[in-house]
Structure formats: structure tokens, C-alpha cells
């Protein structure tokens, strides 16, 4: 094993890589649950469309509130918009983390070769 000196900068790069990797995984978990939410919202919206009733019971907090269908649609649309924006943000964040990790990989592998492992287990 050759002697490779770990400089303070190298340490900082390794730390950054660790942070990004963490964040990437967190974001992908958040993404999964948001996508599920989006599906549920879409389903709810479809159900209202085919419903014969004028009113819908919308779960707000812990109670079902009786609302007009139009109002329920509006509530669902708001939620959908919010989720979509959030998903977009997460996608962007993940892409940034990923490309930065790739950059760091190039640098760190060039210096440490097989002495460092930056792959997923």
C-alpha cells in the first residue's frame, strides 16, 4: 500500500461527499412518499368527478368536513400543486447532489485509487 497523505482539503472533500450521499438518500425517501401522496390526491379527485353527490366529506385535521364538490376540488388542487412543487425541488436537489458527488469521485479516486471506496454497499 502506497503512502498517500490525506490533506485537510481531502478530508473536507470526503466529508462533503458523505453529506451529499446522506442528503441524496433522504431526498429520495421524501420523494417516494410525496409521489404516493400525489397518486392519492389524483385518485380522490377522480372519485369526486364520478360521484353523484353534491357534497364531499373532506378530512381536515381529525374531522371530516362537509364541503361542496367544487370546494373539495379546489382543496385537492392546492395540495396537488404544493406536492408537485415539492417534488420538483427534490428532483433538482438530488440531481445537484449527484453531479457534485460524481465530481468528487473523480478527484478522490484519482488521488486515492483503490484505497477509497465511494460506492453504495
Amino acid at each position: 500500500m502506497s503512502e498517500v497523505v490525506v490533506t485537510k482539503d481531502d478530508q473536507a472533500s470526503i466529508n462533503l461527499f458523505g453529506r451529499l450521499n446522506n442528503r441524496y438518500h433522504e431526498a429520495s425517501n421524501e420523494l417516494a412518499s410525496l409521489k404516493k401522496k400525489l397518486e392519492d390526491l389524483e385518485e380522490a379527485s377522480n372519485e369526486i368527478m364520478i360521484s353523484d353527490e353534491d357534497n364531499t366529506k373532506y378530512l381536515l385535521g381529525e374531522v371530516f368536513v362537509r364541503v361542496e364538490n367544487d370546494e373539495a376540488d379546489e382543496l385537492i388542487d392546492n395540495e396537488t400543486e404544493r406536492s408537485k412543487a415539492e417534488i420538483e425541488k427534490l428532483h433538482e436537489e438530488m440531481n445537484q447532489a449527484k453531479s457534485k458527488m460524481e465530481e468528487l469521485k473523480v478527484v478522490l479516486y484519482a488521488k486515492f485509487g483503490n484505497n477509497i471506496n465511494l460506492e453504495e454497499d
Binding site: M1, E3, V6, K8, Q11, I14, N15, G18, R19, N22, K57, L60, G61, E62, V63, F64, V65, R66
Partner: protein, 194 residues
């Protein structure tokens, strides 16, 4: 650390104040010099690092727990807020609110909240206490709580990143000390052969 949380239920976000420079993991400039600090040499150095490492790990798991609590709390407050806001809206329109509420598991009852009854709401403060607020005050309080929870989440995230750095640094340092020791032994073995 932000501990000003005035929350409807258990604050749960009390940050542990991790980001103090006092406990930051030390980057080792010179491995040999670092080991020389310990009277018993490498073994003691590694043991010390190991115990620091355990402390960081413990801190990390505490932060993760508190983050999970906060992540549950934020949507919880959001839901309550949405509910109160709807009530305020109905009240301002002068219309009644019809709700189905859960009496007990799986049993729902109908209720009508008249516009005048919607003037006041009770917020659960925890410890079996609920306090009466005007609807507007409740919105204000809940909004503030939401902000505090989000702020705490943010602090928690920063603390976690800090601890993550400490963990990574310590891991690398332990490997470096260990490798250095192996190298030294090899060199010694070579010298004795000659």
C-alpha cells in the same frame, strides 16, 4: 440553539446544541505526531478515537430520533391549522360547518358548528389541558408553532450535518492511524531482517 418553542404539544425539537466547535472532530495533520501524544502509542490513540466515535454515533442517533419526531409534528400542526382556517373562513362567510367526527374508533357522529360557535376554539396544550382561543388567535398561535417546528427541523438538520462531518473525519482518522501503524511494523520487520 433555538429553544423558544411554544408548542401546542410536547416541543420535541429541543436541539442538543451539537454545533459547538469544542466537540468538532480534529483533523490530524501529522499522524506520527498525533500518536506521539499518547503515552501508550497507537493502541491508546485508537481506543480514544473509538470512544469519541461512539459518542458521535450516539449523538447522531439522538438527532435522528428528534428529527423523526419533528417530521411527524410539522404535518400534524399543518393539519390542525388547515382545520382552524377552514372554520374561520366559514365563520367569516357566516355559514355553518357540518362535520363528521370520530367518537371512538371507527364510529363517527355528525356535528354542526354554527358560525357563532366557531368564534372560539380549544387547542390541546398537552398534559390533559386544552385552552380556549379565539379562532384568530388560534391561527396565529398555530402558525407560530409551525414556524418554530420548521426552524427546529432546520437546526436539527444543521446539527446532523455537523455530526456527520465529525463521524466521517473520525473514520478517516482511525483508518489513517491504523494504516500508519501497519506501515511502521512492516518497516521494522524489514530492518530487523537486514
Amino acid at each position: 440553539m433555538s429553544s423558544t418553542s411554544m408548542s401546542v404539544d410536547n416541543p420535541g425539537g429541543a436541539s442538543s446544541g451539537a454545533s459547538s466547535s469544542k466537540m468538532e472532530a480534529e483533523y490530524i495533520e501529522d499522524v506520527a505526531a498525533y500518536i506521539a501524544r499518547f503515552p501508550k502509542g497507537t493502541e491508546e490513540a485508537l481506543q480514544t478515537m473509538q470512544s469519541t466515535y461512539q459518542q458521535y454515533k450516539l449523538l447522531e442517533s439522538r438527532l435522528t430520533q428528534s428529527r423523526q419526531r419533528l417530521m411527524m409534528k410539522v404535518p400534524d400542526v399543518e393539519r390542525t391549522l388547515a382545520c382552524v382556517k377552514k372554520l374561520v373562513q366559514r365563520k367569516d362567510e357566516g355559514s355553518d360547518t357540518h362535520v363528521d367526527f370520530e367518537l371512538t374508533d371507527g364510529i363517527f357522529a355528525k356535528a354542526k358548528v354554527s358560525a357563532e360557535n366557531a368564534q372560539k376554539v380549544f387547542l390541546w396544550l398537552g398534559a390533559n389541558v386544552a385552552l380556549e382561543y379565539t379562532a384568530e388567535e388560534a391561527v396565529e398561535l398555530l402558525t407560530k408553532n409551525l414556524e418554530t417546528a420548521k426552524l427546529n427541523l432546520d437546526t436539527n438538520r444543521k446539527d446532523a450535518l455537523f455530526v456527520k462531518d465529525c463521524i466521517t473525519t473520525t473514520e478517516v482518522s482511525m483508518a489513517r492511524v491504523y494504516n500508519y501503524d501497519v506501515q511502521q511494523r512492516k518497516q521494522k520487520a524489514m530492518e530487523t531482517k537486514e
